[in-house]
Amino acid sequence: MRKVLALLLVFVLALGMLAGCSSNTSTSTTEAATTAAAGGESTDKVFRVAYIARAQADSFAAWLANAVMEEADKYDNITVDVFDGQANDDIENGLIENAITNKYDAIIVQPNNGEAQRPYVEKAVAAGIVTITTNARISGIEGASSVDADPYLQAKVNADAAVEQIPQNAKVVVLLGPPGNFHADARRDSWQKEFFDKRPDVTIVGEEIANWNKDEAMNYMETWVQANDQIDAIIAMNDNMAAGALEVIKDNAKFSNILAYGVDGTAEACLLIQEGKLTSTSLQSAYALAEGLLDTSNKLLTGQETQIDIDIDCPLITKDNVAEYIEMHKKAGAIQ
């Protein structure tokens, strides 16, 4: 029994160490929260903002949550608490309700599924709380603001380039995000209207749902490579999946000239563009979203404005300008 307890203790200590060296952000919130509580009403008002993330296990959502925390450090009058919706509508809706009950001054919602969160966001607005939706916005709620990137445009900038780049009578494969996801559907729709409708000569030899995942994309690409001697382009709805498909053919001379398109502008994608493997991607910058979110929160909370709807830019990243984005990721520590 003593041995058992000793082992358990070691484990808990080890966990503590893990927590210590990796989660600077969470400690900083607690500190910020304490100062806020101590300062109370006597000093300038400190606004409490609840940031309700779609899922901390989703790498883009996690990047965005981290960026929001970093950006919040720049504002003395705002403290942000992050909540994890765990990619579950029910949990996320519960978190919004809790935030209303806890009388947060502002609630930022990154929906798991816009329509499922809509009534709860409306409740927050009705409770007189500053409410902002982001990535993706829930549109058409009276009194709610939004900061987003336009998924149609993100795919379009790539599709516009592809119309010129993809050869005549090309054979392409398409990797899709989770069905029903707003960004996944809008990006595919954009590729349809901006590329496939304009290029009837192009044939899709494979199209599968890889759920944004690199490993699932790899499995599909491995199979397609077996079945097709000719694949001219990989059209992926995000960078993870494009990277997975490229991983499969990286040493295959037959596909050395393949074109590949993604969306997001992740660190990995930028490196692949630099190596000449990925053709292009468009940046969905978590930093730009976070900047927009905090600026919007600040303006709404201090009463400068009552409703704001903004879209961040989605610049196309190609070999010509990739250096600048690699620099951005280096600063963030995502690339050594």
Binding site: M1, V4, L7, L8, F11, L15, L18, A19, S22, S23, T25, Q56, A57, D58, S59, A61, A62, W63, A65, N66, L176, P179, G206, E207, E208, I209, N213, K214, D215, M218, N219, Y220, E222, T223, W224, Q226, A227, A243, G244, E247, T266, A267, E268, L271, A334, I335, Q336
Partner: protein
Amino acid sequence: MNSLLQKIKKSNLMATFSIYFVLLFLFLISMMANENFATIGNLSNISRQIAVGTILAFGQTILIISGMLDLSSGSVLALAGVLSVDAYLKTGSLIVSFLVGIIVAVICNILNGLMVTKFKTPPFIATLAMMAMARGAALLYTNGQNIYQIGDYVIFGQGSWFGVPNPVWFLVITMTVTWYLLKHTVFGRSVYAIGGNEEAANASGINVDRVKMKAYIINGIFVGLAGIIFMSRVNGGLPNGANGYEFKALTAAVIGGTSFSGGVGTASGTLAGAFIVGFLDNIMVLVGVNSYLQQIVRGAIIALAVIYDIYFKTTRKKNKAAKG
């Protein structure tokens, strides 16, 4: 002629090998459905694709036979894999990173084992708790971000030896180890005895807790290995990777004839189960079956394979009873 057929039907042949007939049948159908299916390249792909899930499934097989299971294997895989990748980036040593991966997964499974044996927690609950903790730890350690630029670490999952991909070598090794442990060791016999009837096993002098702990430790080694292969294959440390792989592993084991009531199961059956799922996923993509339909077909075939297997096993029992 007729009597010969009946003899085959009544003999143990069909019953013992029923799952392999399902596999063979699926192979032949797939071969007819698409000319690219039965190529060396494609079969090598399938083996590589199922390797990670199947290595997990061997660990599950030993656990399920002894009346337990591991819901944490996908999450522990991610934690072990991420820490292993990080160890490689920090030390530059493949051996150190390999050991880190295995040790992390073994520690998690020792904790699983302790919860089950010392604190008498049902394995379902104990490993469910570990599933959440390990995933949380992996995400916390990486701040939810993928680790890139892992260099030569990719050798474990992308390299090959004598023309055979490394993951397939690992698959063969774990399969052999599992088969040997189950068939030819006292530990293996104890595993079946405990799964068949724990109290009887205890009464006959088997140290039940020790065997259970050993089963979790072996599972841990397999999970760690799977984590290393997974991260290496995807060329990155993905804290969110291998989500739901515990169910892939359970599915392979159960299709392969491992019984959740304990005491029944084999390593080769699990391998066959994994290949059934692997063939099915592959041929549906080759033929271009609609993605939504694929999920329905996958579910239906799993149900059919198991019904078929159970049908032949029960007729064998009836035959035996009739003879006896």
